[in-house]
Symmetry: C2
Subunit: 460 residues, 2 copies
Amino acid sequence: MNSVDQMKLFMEPRSVAIIGASRATGPGSLNILQHLVNARFAGRLYPVNPNARKILRMKCYPSVLDVPDNIDLAVISTPRSLVPQLVEECTRRAIRAITVVAQGLADGDEEGKELQSEIVRIAREGGSRILGPNTFGTVNAFNNLTTAFLELEMKKVPIGIIAQTGLFFVGLPMCSLLGKGIDLGNACDIEFADGLEYFEHDPDIRVILLHVEGIREGRRFMEVARRVAKRKPILALKTGKGDEGARATQSHTGSLAGKDEVYDAAFKQCGVIRVNDVDEYEDVAKAFLRLPLMKGRGIGVITLTGAGGIITLDACEKYNLCLAKLSPDTLSKLGALAPPWQSLGNPADIWAPMMIAGHPFDEVFSTTLAAFLADPNVHGLIIIFYAFSPEVPISLMGGVLKVIDRFEKPVVCWLYGPKVEQLASMMDKTGNIVVYPTLDRAVRALSRLNDYFQIIEGDR
Amino acid sequence: MNSVDQMKLFMEPRSVAIIGASRATGPGSLNILQHLVNARFAGRLYPVNPNARKILRMKCYPSVLDVPDNIDLAVISTPRSLVPQLVEECTRRAIRAITVVAQGLADGDEEGKELQSEIVRIAREGGSRILGPNTFGTVNAFNNLTTAFLELEMKKVPIGIIAQTGLFFVGLPMCSLLGKGIDLGNACDIEFADGLEYFEHDPDIRVILLHVEGIREGRRFMEVARRVAKRKPILALKTGKGDEGARATQSHTGSLAGKDEVYDAAFKQCGVIRVNDVDEYEDVAKAFLRLPLMKGRGIGVITLTGAGGIITLDACEKYNLCLAKLSPDTLSKLGALAPPWQSLGNPADIWAPMMIAGHPFDEVFSTTLAAFLADPNVHGLIIIFYAFSPEVPISLMGGVLKVIDRFEKPVVCWLYGPKVEQLASMMDKTGNIVVYPTLDRAVRALSRLNDYFQIIEGDR
């Protein structure tokens, strides 16, 4: 079976057996079957538990061998010692996709390591594949599948996650990213490359996030990632950088963290964009979902605060963007707005044109915005804006921002002042601009949009 | 007059003249007098404007020379060309503190630079000091003073800001920091050292933030900062790092940005803690206000997610903290909780003790927390916690956290999951723990608490 068809059994099963289904039901019961029912998974469900006759009004089978129908996916949720035999039974039933939830395998002691090897051996001999162990399994908001033992909020966002943890499925602090998720756990068999190939042509998924503790099949990963990265941006959070992190990685998923520089070089080589913390996932994913790519490294800055403009330039230097040199045409449009003592350029500090030269806000702002967007040297734009007090109509901003749609250039924004939340939510609805909580993060997101442009253009 | 008495005229004036007071009143009028009235400033106010007889029902004087009473502070808010004469009039009235709001001085063209020199010369000859130009002036939530032309929300937080911008007075996106603020603007006369000496013994202020574009009086700054830093933590955001930033600094406040490495070394030498963006201001200031110092570099990690523990270790390496080596006593307490295959240590992944070994949450969590806090090798603690679904009582956490009060060690937290906001706000109320939005930021804040410990201990 090829990798995509194999992964479809994990991600889009028509029937799922829950082996070791818990009899405890209701909120807080950590019951996988309950979560599948709550999520309204439409496929067939088969609870397996020798000590129960019914769970959640469903017939419960003593063994997977007793289930009368075909099973696409088996989820084994039992203590570790029972797993080898249960995997063997699954292979006898020709179940080709087996998720092993149990902890304490290669992430535990020597006995656990041996058990894990045995599980892999049995599955291979029987022609089945294992996801995990030590995993939430798979989650798919597009068909309401979840094999996680914690209840999840799923949304049909076009983001696919391949992780060695359930952390990103349970919810990042600032946003829910879960469109489709594959928790590799200890990654004893199903690996990153399998997940990447599944997402490669998946029409539901536009951005791929990786959480990597260790990659075993380095060559295959490189080959697949290089190919997939040309179609969809791949962001990777590689953890376990130092000695302590590497040791902790060993006891978390039994992975070998490896030299951080090796991963760094490998990601660069195959066009995977590395991120450094969970907030960068959110920031950069949002940029890819909402904004056009940045086709050069020239940034334009329109600001109501000179100090904010300077902080932006510091961030540009950090993230390797450069201040766009404005064309004479742009400069003359800006010059007409400035008071005599100001040479308005880039960054364009538009406070004085309004407050000193007395031009009205929407004239100054829309002239500057249009001039910057039309300038061929400006490849992306950051707007630094004071979120006015309520008496100044925030809606004014909405009209001005329409001009952005005429240009294929990314525009990001940082807001300050008393009405940040209101204005941010209004701008969020326009859909053509992303507001970031700091200037550093806004510039970083723009920079990644150019990184990916370079990746698909193959300049690297 | 010494620097503190001089600054008191700017920060705690009993009487203020607003020279060039605007006749436009009401919301959005950018009227300084209006804002002082709205803020309920208790001192005497004298509007000065030759074209008005009354503003906001107050008698308006044609010139400051006509005001019958003593004036502590004059705020000159007129076009730049009028400023030299008005400063001269102030000196004749023996007004010792003069705030010049106008833009377009050293931040503008050659004519502006000359005007600024003239203003300084006139003030010095007349025995007065200038704050600004190009400034919001001073803000003091403790006596309801604001000379800003934008309306501000002031709170009596024990944070003093000395900045070359009004940006931080208008409000950072995520929190209001304005206890007392001094906007140096172009800093033609009143400098950072003056502000630092004012805050040095100010009982209202516990943390000092600097926003620096350029410091002229380097030697005096170093001498004062070194002294003040031993009493109160000083955080500095130095902007204008690269060439573009330096150019923009020149046109923002006429400051010379200087070599970034020189500032870096100078800050280190005098015990000023450098921050890199506005979110770090907020993070670190909160840590200093709410948490004890970290008296060593050993960190303890208690987590419900192994992946989160590893991300924390990466951050520890980045911020030069090290994983505490637990004492045998702590290890034996933890060992009693773990399933046989787990060697529970630091980070302590307490998921398996609950889910596999079956110990109840509060036993596991409070035992681990108390053991870590009591361990002499643990100098600070990070808790990584799953914000449960509502059916699991969040209040449970509150009881457990009480143990923190018995130890003089900083505890920070990162939350993930569906109920992050509810749990964060509950934990925020306990007052003895700070929740950060990312692991990187949580670890960074802890690290700064140790940096400052080293500064006051003089190990550096």
